[in-house]
């Protein structure tokens, strides 16, 4: 296994985030290199999700900046972040439950569809001719994702009827449909049994390997993450307490203390 890890693609610089008087993140810095799997771990309430939401544009940190591919962004909403090539999945499944698996993943192609939504609605309300062809190309792309995630049997099934593990896969599929540069995964293995966790790990590794996608992964459970990550950031109480390869992090005293002291 030889993987070419590239330059820094995402640089988080001195981020601090407060909600009212409560400090969620304090002076966090780390970077993510191209094509690596970078994990952010930490006990419950360590600020992992806040960190992800900052990168994703859901929260605007009071201090610090985030540099993505040489571009600094501070006041951006999640749609603008999506446009820049950052996709995410959700810890508490935010799928479009009434829609089929295919339609859910197709929504991930929205940004790739050339004319903007409003103009498309006006100019070509029923998708005839060129738009139809474009739609077919996107559908083909989506079919490759369906094949990749091995969910062919559920194409037409409304997502709300699928098992939890499968919904997680659809969530991943929707993010992949955006062809993101960076993929943010918010606890992709939460609530899964061992077999589902192994499947998900394999998909994450395959995504990283086959598409060269950079992955930023948040996990609460250390076990699986350590096996698949290139580098790991450890947060505790909103502060960074460790950063390095899984081996380095595992032997870091402060990390051991944080984990022993709180959850495990």
């Amino acid at each position: 296994m030889s993987k070419k890890i590239g330059d820094v693609i995402l640089d988080v610089q001195n981020i601090s985030l407060r909600f009212g008087g409560v400090k969620a993140l304090t002076d966090i810095s780390f970077n993510v290199r191209e094509r690596e799997i970078r994990s952010i771990i930490g006990p419950n309430g360590a600020g992992k999700s806040s960190m992800l939401n900052c990168i994703n544009g859901v929260y605007q940190p009071q201090e610090g900046s985030i540099v993505f591919r040489g571009q600094t962004f501070s006041q951006m909403n999640s749609r603008q972040v999506a446009e820049m090539g950052i996709a995410r999945t959700f810890q508490n499944l935010a799928l479009f439950k009434g829609m089929s698996v295919v339609d859910n993943i197709m929504t991930g192609r929205n940004l790739r569809i050339k004319s903007n939504l409003f103009m498309q609605a006006i100019r070509n309300p029923f998708g005839i001719g060129g738009a139809q062809r474009e739609e077919e190309q996107h559908r083909e792309f989506v079919e490759h994702i369906i094949d990749f995630l091995e969910i062919q049997a559920y194409r037409k099934t409304p997502v709300g009827q699928l098992s939890y593990g499968l919904q997680k896969r659809v969530d991943l599929g929707r993010a992949l449909a955006m062809e993101p540069k960076v993929l943010l995964l918010d606890e992709p293995m939460a609530g899964m049994n061992l077999e589902e966790k192994q499947d998900m790990s394999r998909f994450i590794l395959d995504v990283n390997d086959e598409f060269g996608t950079t992955v930023v992964l948040i996990e609460h459970d250390m076990g699986v993450v350590m096996d698949i990550s290139d580098r790991v950031v450890v947060l505790d109480y909103g502060r960074k307490i460790g950063d390095g390869t899984p081996e380095e992090v595992r032997s870091n005293d402060e990390v051991i203390r944080a984990y022993l002291g709180t959850t495990n």
């Binding site: 490759h144 062919q152 049997a153």
Partner: protein, 648 residues
């Protein structure tokens, strides 16, 4: 008119070049391979394989699901005079070692990463296995093992070679003879190593033709290839008969999509083991239980009509006008929609085989208007021995001998078969070959059977399990435990049954109730019960089971040879037989001997005529804890019926 598979391919490509040979669902679309495309692909593969060093007569394993390119590979190998050896794609790595070494395999052609990993894992124990080709490149990017290549490379280089040597492919095919070995099928014996069954082109093609003639199959058939290609049945349905008849074989998208794909394809010629038919029926029943009251009532009413009218209609017997009208109405309201949702609306011929099928299950499908039949055959006979004609399908027979087959029964009831489809022998195992092939060309099936008045074969058990009664009114009569047990198990209330009787004067049975079915039955009657043991000992449950037992006896008494197997006494066990307690095999078959020893007191009580017996048993839980279950079991006598000869 003897031929070989590659010659058949060229013939089909000449007859119907533009027609569809195979379809495979990929990326949500059915991708079509025409006969001309198929011939071209096989040529490229053959040339590629030749360049890679395949020599005439060598064995090559092919491992994977039903994929057009894997079937093409088998044809390519046969074109070069090599012998494809299909292995089960779900076998674990270590199970592949023996076949690969036994057949001195150098080349493995596999479907995907999963199979590659398996081959790599055993490579150090199979040193001669130097070349591995994979069809699906997914996940293979970072594999750098020597001798590992994509099938794509082979097709590409073979294509170039073919253009440079236009006559090569046909010359190679001409070198092949019908009596050459076509394939090697490994069968897993219950003990010892698997045995490689050697079949020639002539064997397989003859049997394929017999089956096609029997059911008048044409090039218009649609087949869904969803069982493992390593199983000879799949090989016959989606390879041998495909090449002879020139019909369309459809490969599902994945194992999870078979039901959806079946619906889309609408096969006309279909095979499934009984458990698949059972699973489909269960799904229908569950859906019906969830349906609205009107729909449910309609379903049950018309299924009753179907059971009354359907079988007669299917066998071409006359049916009254009002029944005909009711059936027609049922067809519009229930049967047709149901056939459609099962993906069976276009089926002309459907077969089941492998194990006994319950009469209710069998009748369900037939009464819906689906032409479900049974066949009898084994790997060693290239499948087709007996088949049921359309109008003579029954749950308890396996049909009449088809074209070219002779059957007879040996002294001890074993079915012997002589047919052009018999194996040439077991690979490198003359001893085993001699055990099954007699000098005058009969194959010993190891199955005990009887031939009924209509000439239909009926399989009753494995020969080694068939015993004899000793003493009593039926002294020396045949005792077929599995036959008796199966008959009992066809009642939904009975989950397992263990029959005793070999070297004894009468047959006694221990029965396991089906907790769910009997529980429901009890609830409908407002009978309270506290768990399995309590329910099993209810007098009403005894009555219920007694009724089942006596029905079986009545049935058995109709056959002079089996009348002796009627059940004299029975008891209902206080605990469920369980693989964790060693009472069942891991595939859920009863271990008769083990149970006989473990419950010796019960067996003795049965034969000593006691009316009840106390028993205490240890039960092991999944987590390893144990507990004891005890009960005083009531032992009942069942009525037996006299045959024509009069006895009992």
């Amino acid at each position: 008119m003897q031929t070989t598979f590659p010659r058949l391919l060229l013939e089909q490509a000449r007859l119907r070049p533009r027609d569809t040979a195979m379809r495979e669902k990929k990326y949500g679309i059915w991708q079509v391979t025409s006969w001309a495309d198929m011939a071209q692909l096989v040529e490229a593969l053959a040339c590629g394989l030749h360049q890679a060093g395949i020599v005439r007569g060598e064995h090559v394993v092919v491992v994977g699901a039903n994929r057009p390119r894997l079937y093409a590979t088998m044809l390519a190998l046969q074109s070069l005079g090599a012998v494809p050896v299909p292995l089960y794609q779900d076998a674990v790595a270590t199970e592949c070692i023996f076949p690969i070494n036994n057949a001195e395999v150098r080349f493995a052609i596999v479907e995907d990463q999963e199979q590659v990993d398996k081959m790599l894992e055993i490579r150090d124990r199979c040193p001669q296995l130097t070349h591995i080709y994979y069809d699906d490149p997914r996940g293979m990017r970072n594999y750098e093992e020597p001798g590992l290549h994509a099938l794509d490379e082979l097709v590409a280089s073979g294509g170039v070679f073919a253009t440079g040597h236009p006559g090569f492919f046909r010359e190679q095919i001409e070198l092949g003879e019908p009596e050459d070995v076509a394939s090697l099928f490994f069968t897993s014996g219950t003990t010892g190593n698997p045995k490689g069954v050697v079949h020639t082109h002539a064997n397989l093609i003859d049997r394929a033709r017999a089956g096609i003639a029997f059911d008048r199959l044409t090039a218009q058939e649609e087949v869904l290839a969803y069982l493992p290609p390593a199983w000879i049945g799949q090989s016959i349905f989606s390879y041998a008969q495909w090449l002879v008849a020139g019909y369309v074989v459809n490969c599902p998208e994945s194992s999870g999509t078979v039901t959806i794909d079946m619906n889309e394809v609408g096969p006309t010629y279909y095979f499934a083991p009984p458990r698949v038919f059972e699973g489909l029926l269960t799904n229908v029943m569950i859906r019906m239980e969830d349906a609205g009251a009107i729909k449910r009532a309609m379903f049950h009413y018309f299924m009753k009509v179907a059971r009354r009218v359907g079988p007669a209609k299917m066998s071409g017997r006359p049916v009254g006008l009002s029944d005909r009208l009711l059936y027609a109405l049922g067809n519009v309201l229930v049967y047709r929609p149901l056939r459609n949702s099962l993906g069976m609306s276009r089926i002309r011929v459907a077969y089941t085989a492998g194990e006994a099928i319950g009469p209710d299950l069998f009748t369900f499908y037939r009464s819906l208007g689906i032409n479900l039949k049974q066949l009898y055959g084994q790997t060693e006979t290239a499948v087709f021995v007996c088949l049921q004609p359309d109008d003579q399908a029954q749950a308890d027979t396996v049909g009449v001998p088809c074209d070219g087959v002779e059957i007879k029964l040996s002294e001890d009831g074993e079915v012997l078969v002589r047919s052009p489809g018999l194996l040439k022998g077991y690979y490198k195992d003359p001893k085993a070959t001699a055990e099954v092939l007699t000098e005058d060309g009969w194959y010993r099936t190891n199955d005990a059977g009887i031939i009924d008045a209509q000439g239909h074969l009926r399989i009753i058990d494995r020969v080694k399990d068939v015993g004899r009664l000793k003493g009593g009114p039926y002294d020396g009569a045949l005792f077929a435990p599995k036959y008796v047990e199966n008959k009992l198990k066809f009642f939904s209330y009975i989950k397992e049954a263990v029959a005793f009787g070999d070297q004894r004067e009468k047959v006694c049975v221990m029965i396991n109730i089906d907790f769910e079915a009997v529980g429901n039955w009890a609830e409908r009657r407002g009978m309270p019960y506290a768990g399995y043991t309590d329910l099993a000992q209810k007098p009403q449950v005894y009555e219920l089971i007694l009724e089942c037992v006596e029905k079986v006896n009545a049935d058995l008494s109709e056959d002079a040879m089996l009348a002796g197997s009627q059940i004299s006494r029975f008891l209902v066990l206080h605990k469920e037989l369980d693989a964790d307690d060693g009472e069942l095999t891991r595939t859920n078959k009863v271990r008769r001997g083990f149970i006989g020893d473990k419950y010796r007191v019960l067996v003795d009580a049965l034969y000593e005529g006691r009316s009840e017996q106390f028993i205490e048993t240890q039960v092991k839980f999944e987590d390893g804890r144990t507990t004891t279950v005890s009960a005083t079991l009531k032992i009942g006598d069942a009525r037996t019926f006299s045959t024509m000869k009069g006895a009992a």
